[in-house]
Amino acid sequence: MRSSFSTVDTTQLLKGVLDLAVLAVLKDEDGYGYDILRRLRTAGLDEVGDASVYGTLRRLFQAGLLTTYVVPSEEGPHRKYYGLNAAGRDQLNRAGKTWRTFASTMDGLLDERGVAA
């Protein structure tokens, strides 16, 4: 029960920051859906759901923050790559600042009360 509650908790947290996480892993290099998922998991976001990443990509694209293009591949299907456009980079910078402020506020709040890291 305890562990399942904690899973829900992380999922809830992820929901708030998945946009930022996806924008961040696209900062230096464009990627296709599965590749982006792998980058997030490599970065430590194991809980991130396949469909969540996929849906987030669609939403960010609809919001005009991403560009997309199709790259033919010799083996397997053609891949749709996503990359940041100027608006996406702006959004990444702003949301990144917001998150850092929020995270340090939370850290301070927990530190004051002696909650273990």
Binding site: G49, D50, S52, G55, Q62, T68, G76, A86
Partner: protein, 332 residues
């Protein structure tokens, strides 16, 4: 289970779970999933359901992450609902057209291609803005294709540079602007395009005006002012009249070119050349036909060729005084 059919079945189940969505939105959402499932399937032996959970849960997650968690019900009750339903349908139609035309351009969607053209539009917008500024400050007198502010090319270059940089800067900032300035920008863009069409149309007419005299000219003899006739020995013929197949005198050139011709022209059929002493060149004789006297002729300066008063030395061959043979009797 066959890998491909498992993927298809999973996709179909996800599609069913999203059945309440607008078809265009749903298709868009599912567009790249087959590719994605193929990647997931290639990763290991586990089935898609084992790896991704039940398709219904997958669909729910997808819907939520894509920001579509409020199920769009087709029931249209109020005016707002009806309007938004129409808008949704329109968006669906546009979206479908977007997807269909994309592959023709070599992209997933036409809008992706159009988005790449955006910087080009920014540059054009900057140029049009410079033109508009010039046009407004010169009360519409400046209709060229360069924004010559006050007639100065340097000012034109400066104005153009400023407008281009400003437009590009605006273009890059546009996605971050609030909706009111964005709408203003869009209206301004449309106005600039309309203005540009008017200016280009004007400039085009201006240019067309210059070409007109040449393009309408259908008569290849229009430039002819006078006619010079030479016989086979290279001797210029004078008082020649030309007639067409119906016996009508052929009137070429300008009969009033020279004083003498003025009086001849009154008589009827024009006698060429009008100005015999202005013959364009003296032709050397063909060796076999005129053996002895001719070489002297070519050495004579043009102005001294006594064609007007044909003497025995200058027109030695009898065929060189052609008035009798060259002029047929008009039949009318």
């Amino acid at each position: 289970m066959n890998v491909a059919t498992e993927q298809e079945a999973y996709l179909e189940a996800v599609r069913r779970a999203l059945a309440d969505l607008d078809p265009a939105v749903r298709d868009e959402l599912l567009e790249d999933l087959p590719e994605h499932f193929a990647e997931v399937a290639a990763e290991g032996d586990a089935t898609l359901t084992e790896r991704l959970g039940p398709p219904e849960a997958y669909a729910a997650e997808l819907r939520m992450a894509a920001g579509l968690d409020v199920a769009t019900t087709p029931a249209a009750r109020g005016l707002d609902d009806r309007v938004s339903a129409v808008l949704r349908r329109a968006r669906g139609v546009v979206g479908a057209a977007d997807r269909r035309t994309g592959p023709l351009l070599g992209y997933g969607r036409a809008s992706e291609f159009l988005r790449m053209l955006a910087p080009g539009w920014w540059v054009l917008r900057g140029y049009l803005a410079a033109m508009a500024i010039t046009w407004l400050t010169s009360d519409g007198n400046e209709a060229g294709l360069l924004p010559r502010l006050g007639g100065s090319t340097l000012a034109a270059a400066l104005l153009l540079a400023v407008c281009l940089v400003a437009s590009i800067w605006l273009g890059r900032r546009e996605p971050t602007l609030a909706s009111v300035p964005r709408t203003g920008l869009a209206i301004g863009g449309v106005a600039l395009v309309l203005f540009g069409m008017v200016v280009f149309d004007k400039a085009d007419q201006y240019g067309g005006g210059w070409n007109e005299p040449q393009s309408v000219s259908g008569n290849p003899y229009e430039y002819i002012q006078d006619v010079y006739v030479y016989d086979s020995n290279g001797n210029p013929l004078t008082d020649v009249s030309l007639y067409d197949q119906g016996g009508n005198p052929i009137q070429l050139g300008d009969p009033y070119r020279c004083q003498e011709a003025f009086y001849q022209a009154q008589a009827g059929a024009p006698a060429y050349p009008y100005c015999p002493n202005q013959q364009p060149y003296v032709v050397a004789p063909r060796p076999g036909l005129a053996p002895t006297e001719e070489p002297q002729r070519t050495e004579l300066p043009l102005s001294e060729v006594p064609v007007e008063t044909p003497g025995p030395t200058s027109t030695p061959a009898p065929t060189a005084t052609p008035t009798a043979t060259a002029v047929p009797t008009p039949t009318n």
